[in-house]
Symmetry: C2
């Protein structure tokens, strides 16, 4: 059986939702960031990047949220998590995943992961202070340009929606006023109506979705 | 005909190489970063992100290097730029693209694009000072874990190779000693033997590949 390594509240929620949506059989294994389990020798032998998520299969280990999401959608194609019949629509899915991974998640990470990119406390503080602005700009762009509605890709639910919910969860902690983002808020409300989303959420937080 | 917006020396070289490898018909349009053409009203109406590359087709505008690369490989499947017959291999391609986009390119960008994530000159200086270390760590990981050889995916050339060459070009400017990276150096030498790579390079730099 596939093993899925995750940490509650991290970006791994996106792939977790996709696995449950796809009705995949998998064992979910929690990695505790508080005790730095992601840096343990045992976990680094699975994922030398020391990050989550990681999906372990007979074929090998897969990392990187966009790659894991697209793999789940490909292998469990009956779940229709990507509109594979339209190459341009698939490309738009990939572009959305890539924007979240390389721009939005990166903007968020400057709040708590400053040491990845700088060395001084004053720089970490400066980076952290800018997060409300950068995350707000990202979500203005998402709200105006990227979310067609009701789902990211329009009428069809996709892996983009799992990823958007996961990152939009971070907005309040990042100091961004959510009420400015009507489409993103409505999107979260729609996600809450999906049973697989609630199940993945509860596996992360040991509590029902608020 | 497709329009491909690029800027010499930027990450857009990767998609440019893939377009030439695929023998795609496209018009290449140069965006001058020195005069901030990427922030002109005209270009922002094409790509509101104000970045390159952007690929403009009848179906719409596509941005984000991983998405553009995968789209080219999908539509021009005869060029065999992705091993589509193996879903796990496709996932490994996506994971490599995602790692370059969200970790390696981001590490590099802290050298010159500090204002994206901070506000003070002292922070920009601190970020810039760390780039040789972060880029070195990324390329140690690429060299040890990710490049099977001779190509990134092993025997089969893929879009990963175009992306790796594009980013490994930046190492010297980032203060990283290239000679420590035997596989990456041999990879660049192999790329130089490919006529489509040389043609894309010359379209960028108006000079032959060194």
């Amino acid at each position: 059986m596939m093993k899925f390594y995750f940490s509650p509240g991290s970006v791994s929620l996106a792939a977790h939702i996709a696995l449950v949506e796809a009705d995949a059989k998998f064992e979910a294994i929690r990695i505790d960031f508080a005790t730095e389990q992601q840096r343990s020798e045992r976990y680094l032998s699975i994922n030398p990047k020391g990050r989550v998520p990681a999906l372990v299969m007979d074929a090998g280990v897969l990392t990187e949220t966009p790659a894991i999401l697209m793999y789940i959608a490909t292998v469990y194609s009956r779940a229709k998590l990507v509109p594979f019949d339209d190459p341009f629509a698939v490309a738009k899915v990939n572009a959305f995943l890539s924007y979240l991974a390389s721009t939005v998640h990166v903007a968020h990470a400057h709040g708590g992961r400053g040491p990845r990119w700088a060395s001084k406390q004053s720089s970490f503080d400066d980076m952290k202070a800018k997060v409300p602005q950068t995350m707000r700009e990202c979500f203005l762009f998402i709200e105006e340009e990227l979310v067609v509605g009701p789902w990211v890709m329009g009428e069809q639910y996709s892996i983009c929606d799992a990823y958007l919910l996961t990152i939009s969860r971070w907005l309040e902690g990042d100091g961004v006023e959510r009420s400015d983002f009507v489409k993103v808020d409505r999107h979260a409300a729609l996600m809450r109506e999906r049973e697989p989303v609630r199940r993945a959420w509860e596996a992360h937080f040991d509590a029902p979705m608020p």
